[in-house]
């Protein structure tokens, strides 16, 4: 399944792009409306980009009354990304979404680098959210921890159904002339090609630790990038930064992925699932 990474697409503005995915993931929704962070909010780096949007969103009330009815008409499953600043925030939103048939799954954003971190642990947030909803729950984790597998095991024990790996990592860009931060809030979240090896390592670690379904994301630009995440242990793949440069990326990445699978003599990308963990090379060679 090919998805967009949360925060990288507005389906109400670009519905045709959203429909080119197998499911649409919303920007993170918080209990109250948020304007987001002070501009400047984005900056390109040599191997990626920094963003500091700051969870701009209409808040759960307007999301449910205004956005969700329109998203339900998209024709693709809707995943809602949920964020907050304490455990009750997550549980409250999960409870509000639980009765909405148009919500396919919930992704718990427990890892945004651009807001103050939730004070409680992933375990508490997941456990409280689990009690609040019967929807499939995915935990979106940060790779900027000493041992992401440990966090993944904690999330699994608390009741998530899958993992979204990875969120961005905090980075800083200075203006070459003034030597001051380019972004308004100072730091931002690093995404793009710089994140790919970090995402691969996180997916591989969490696959080994939990065997849970994983949505792999981070620096995917091509079908081969997607195939590598699947080989590391991702069941699904999400596109983020690449969408900014190329709104046609979903169709292109899908076609490249199919070609890369066919080149290896496989029937589907399921054949590539977790092959990076096999000892013997399973790729056909001509020599």
């Amino acid at each position: 399944m090919l998805l967009n990474a949360s925060g990288c697409l507005d389906a109400l503005i670009a519905p045709e792009v959203a429909r080119s995915f197998d499911a649409f993931v919303t920007k993170t929704v918080t209990p109250l409306p948020r304007d987001g962070n002070t501009p400047v909010r984005i900056a390109e780096t040599d191997v990626g980009m920094l963003n500091s949007i700051g969870l701009a969103n209409p808040g759960i009330d307007r999301f449910v009354t205004r956005n969700l009815p329109q998203l339900e008409k998209l024709g693709v499953p809707v995943w809602v990304s949920v964020g907050g600043f304490e455990t009750d925030d997550y549980a409250e939103i999960c409870l509000r979404l639980d009765d909405h048939a148009g919500v396919d799954s919930i992704e718990l954003n427990v890892s945004c680098p651009n807001v103050d971190a939730p004070v409680e642990t992933v375990t508490q947030i997941v456990a409280a959210s689990r009690l609040a909803t019967r929807k499939p729950l995915w935990a979106k984790l940060s790779p900027a921890v000493p041992d992401i597998a440990e966090v993944a095991r904690a999330a699994q024990a608390a009741g998530v159904d899958g993992l979204s790996l990875v969120n961005t990592i905090r980075g800083l860009k200075l203006d070459g002339t003034t030597l001051r931060p380019v972004l308004g809030p100072g730091h931002g979240g690093l995404s793009g090609p710089a994140l790919k090896p970090i995402a691969l390592a996180a997916v591989a670690s969490c696959y080994q630790a939990t065997a849970m379904p994983i949505v792999g994301m981070g620096g995917v630009q091509t079908g081969l990038d997607a195939l590598e995440l699947i080989a590391a242990g991702a069941r699904h793949v999400a596109l983020g930064t690449v969408l900014f440069a190329d709104p046609d990326a979903p169709a292109r990445v899908r076609a490249e992925l199919h070609a890369a699978v066919a080149e290896r003599g496989w029937n589907s990308y399921d054949d590539a699932y977790a092959v990076a963990h096999e000892e013997e090379l399973s790729v056909r060679t001509t020599s």
Binding site: A14, M49, N51, I53, P247
Partner: protein
């Protein structure tokens, strides 16, 4: 919006700026003040550029090489190709009775196309040097000033102002002409409402320039 790979037709110096001309392909030139995302070779993100001129079969962009992306765009040569996405955003409203175009520096970029669409109305343009002022030649019927004279000194009353330029200029223009249409600028990653990166705070309201602008009413 449409994304297409277009061929470079030419690359001309205009003072310190570069006029990049590309074949139009199937891309609509849109309304003056709308913009396009131009693939910057070797860079991760495209760069937003308003359309400067729209001769038949062509799109032309006036670019100031100030960073790695704009330098890569200015280095493009004939027959090289780049992806172009657009037209994007909201352009200038053309239903004005007494138009006056006001431009500052590289902000004059959308004015040649705007001037053509309005039948060559008067324009006032400000630049930081005589070298930069060479770009004034692209705008017909223009009065040009160079610092320390500021373009705001050339704006007569009673005109329908359509302006593009640096933020301090736009702030000064809207002080003089509360009904002016102002084209703003912000760093953008996507140009089509996906990234929320181009948000600007104007009069206490946060706006995504790519979908609510880049042209906004002053008041």
């Amino acid at each position: 919006m449409r994304r297409e790979r277009l061929s470079v037709l030419g690359n001309e110096k205009v003072g310190p700026y570069t006029l990049l001309r590309v074949g139009r392909g199937g891309i609509d030139p849109g309304v003056p003040g709308q913009f396009f995302m131009l693939e910057a070779p070797g860079r991760l993100l495209p760069r937003p550029m308003s359309l400067c001129l729209a001769p038949p079969g062509e799109l032309a962009f006036l670019i100031d090489a100030i960073g790695p992306g704009t330098r890569a765009l200015c280095a493009l040569e004939r027959e090289q190709e780049l992806y172009v996405l657009g037209p994007l955003g909201n352009g200038f409203r053309l239903d004005v009775e007494r138009p006056l175009l006001v431009g500052g520096g590289i902000g004059i970029a959308p004015l040649p196309y705007l001037s053509e669409s309005l039948g060559g109305p008067p324009a006032v343009l400000g630049f930081r040097s005589d070298w930069h002022a060479a770009a004034g030649e692209l705008v017909p019927n223009a009065q040009v000033c160079v610092e320390p004279t500021l373009v705001t000194a050339l704006i007569p009353g009673g005109m329908d102002v359509l302006a593009c330029g640096p933020e301090p200029m736009l702030e000064a223009v809207r002080g003089l002409a509360p009904d002016a249409q102002l084209a703003w600028e912000a760093p953008m990653a996507c140009g089509y409402g996906a990234c929320y990166g181009c948000a600007v705070e104007i009069d206490g309201r946060v706006k995504r320039l790519c979908v609510e602008g880049p042209v906004l009413r002053a008041a």
